[in-house]
């Protein structure tokens, strides 16, 4: 036991003396949460639009101010001819153009049917879709208000309610994603590198010719990273609650437990990588392509898995981050308990045991 403690202490010296690495390890989650929270967001806000108002009446004025008042749009230009619209799109000045034909209010009042045209820049299809939806919603809203007093026959109204995330905040989905990503980086990458570094420096050679059992060496190397991960999880949770206003709806204890489970899985994967490689570069490459990329692409955090072709959907099942991401969303955002995530927890546990068994089997007690 004394050996073990001494080894862990030594490992902490290594980490603490490499100031840059410490800074990256502890600073990275904070940076990522802040960047995702404030800079990288797929919410559409303050999009610049142009309005071509050929009617210039009460109704078009009212719609114009409704659009401008919403947080999605800023009216930046009034155009007076079609070519101007095209020019504005080409310059990239606007994302959406709203065109009211002549006699808009007149048509609305007397023919009960007025038309409005929306032209969107669909070079980014998702944004174009979102913008036209928002604009349509605002226009329909206006229509509802003016028809309020009159009863129209046969109307179906949709009432929407956004559960768990009523404000449709992006933070609700990326906080779990960032957690998965950070834990993966810290645990898998760093564990793999730190063990392989001992091989590269030749210190593993001496360690093997010592009474210390090889497996204890490996476990001792993983302990500091487990602790670092807990610090990181804590700082991510604190930031998301106090800076991004993402609540922890479920049990904090369960959340921490699941995080530790995922951390251990990542550590086991790091160990496995280290048993098969001899250079830090290879270890880093394998950890990044084998773990980090799948985490980003196939966990459902950046791209919805449901929309992927079948082979990718099947592959995504072996990515631990997918299950962890799901668990964190269920527990943290929806506030569900273990009853809702026991299956996913079991899958993660299975992966952990499998990876651990494999790396113990593959760990070399000799040099070759």
């Amino acid at each position: 036991m004394k050996q073990f403690v001494s080894f862990v202490k030594k490992e902490f010296y290594h980490i603490a003396r490499d100031k840059r690495t410490v800074f990256i390890l502890l600073g990275m989650p904070i940076m990522q949460i802040l960047i995702f929270g404030f800079a990288l967001t797929n919410e559409v806000k303050n999009s610049q639009i142009a309005i071509f108002d050929q009617s210039n009446d009460l109704a078009t004025h009212a719609l114009r101010s409704e659009l401008n008042a919403s947080r999605y749009f800023d009216v930046v230009q009034d155009v007076h001819a079609y070519p101007e619209i095209e020019a504005a799109f080409k310059k990239g000045k606007i994302k959406l153009a709203v065109i009211f034909p002549e006699n808009f209010a007149n048509d609305l009042d007397h023919f009960n049917a007025a038309q409005v045209q929306l032209i969107a820049d669909a070079s980014d299809p998702n944004v174009a879709n979102t913008l036209t939806n928002y604009a349509t919603a605002i226009i329909l809203d206006y229509q509802d208000r003016i028809t309020n007093n009159r009863r129209l026959p046969y109307t179906i109204k949709t009432e929407m309610r956004m559960l768990y995330n009523p404000q449709l905040k992006g933070a609700y989905s990326f906080v779990p994603g960032v957690m998965a990503m950070v834990l993966m980086l810290v645990c898998t990458l760093m564990t793999a590198i730190t063990i392989v570094r001992e091989k590269e420096l030749g210190t593993m050679e001496i360690m093997l010719v010592s009474p210390m059992q090889p497996f204890k060496i490996v476990v001792a190397k993983a302990v500091p990273y487990l602790l670092l991960s807990i610090v990181n999880v804590t700082s991510i949770l604190l930031l998301s609650v106090f800076v991004l206003d993402v609540p922890i709806n479920g049990s904090l204890l369960l959340l921490i437990f699941e995080s530790i489970l995922f951390t251990l899985t990542c550590l086991a994967f790091g160990l496995l990588i280290s048993t098969g490689t001899d250079s830090q570069q290879t270890a880093m490459f394998i950890a990044l392509t084998g773990m980090f990329l799948p985490t980003v692409m196939l966990s459902g955090f950046m791209f919805p898995i449901e929309n992927m072709p079948l082979p990718l959907r099947i592959i995504s099942n072996i990515v631990p981050a997918k299950w962890f991401y799901y668990i964190v969303k269920e527990v943290m955002i929806k506030g569900l308990g273990i009853a809702a995530v026991w299956k996913e927890t079991l899958i993660l546990t299975g992966m952990l045991l499998f990876l651990l068994a494999l790396s113990i089997r593959k760990f070399k007690i000799r040099l070759a």
């Binding site: 290594h14 420096l201 001496i206 360690m207 093997l208 009474p211």
Partner: protein, 306 residues
Amino acid sequence: MVSVKVNNLTKHYGKKKELTQALSGVSFNVAPGELFGIIGPDGAGKTSLFRILTTLLLPDGGSASVDGLDVVKDFKAIRHRVGYMPGRFSLYQDLTIEENLEFFATIFNTSIEENYDLIKDIYSQIEPFRTRKAGKLSGGMKQKLALSCALIHKPSVLFLDEPTTGVDAVSRKEFWEMLRNLKKQGITILVSTPYMDEASMCDRVALIQNGAILSVDSPEGVIAAFKQPLVAVKDANMLPLLNHLHHFEGTQDAYPFGEYHHVVLKDGYAAADVSNYLQHQHAQAEVQSIKADIEDCFIALMKQSG
């Protein structure tokens, strides 16, 4: 009693096509408390041999035991009792001298205080710098630290793989004196080195070349086995001189040796014969009869074994 027993050990690397025979049937015994040198050029198989003896590699054939323990079966027990210093400096560069030593002491279930006597002579030289990081030490100091770390658990057998490679002449001499002192503590020491001149510091040496042992004997014994007359020749123009020496009928072998050429003569020839032969082309040549040293023996043994 035998401390280290090596019996017909073989080891090769690589697959069929690019097979490298590292060891081909190596055998020798080392007595307890002996300072045993394994001497041979780079690539002779010294490191492979040490790694097998320290249980880091499995031999392909033959057997070996350390302290009566088999290097394959009893590798765990061996790891408790041997000290090993690899050829490359293998301590933690970002830990201080003291932290390194303390760490290795704990790993071997002991403490610095417990075995301080053993390392006192060596460690006291670097102790003033104990808060310095190992990576910032000079070559000689690194080597002293590495030796202290390998000794801290009072091993019964100490394996030093090329400890003096890349170390200056003064530090090398100092290092061998340290080893002589350690020997007094009853520790069996196996040292490998590519420097022939270090052979005389050992009790016995094994000369190794291409994975095979050429000779195992005391340094004096190795030299005594060299029976042929040997002369050293020097002249202003060394290259033609070597050519001419090769053509001399009494020459068995001639090779450059420092500022001289050494000529091994066939039985019955002497320095005077060489002088006579050189009279015409190399009137100024300096010819003297000398005693062979280990390197001459090594070269002779190497040529013998083909």
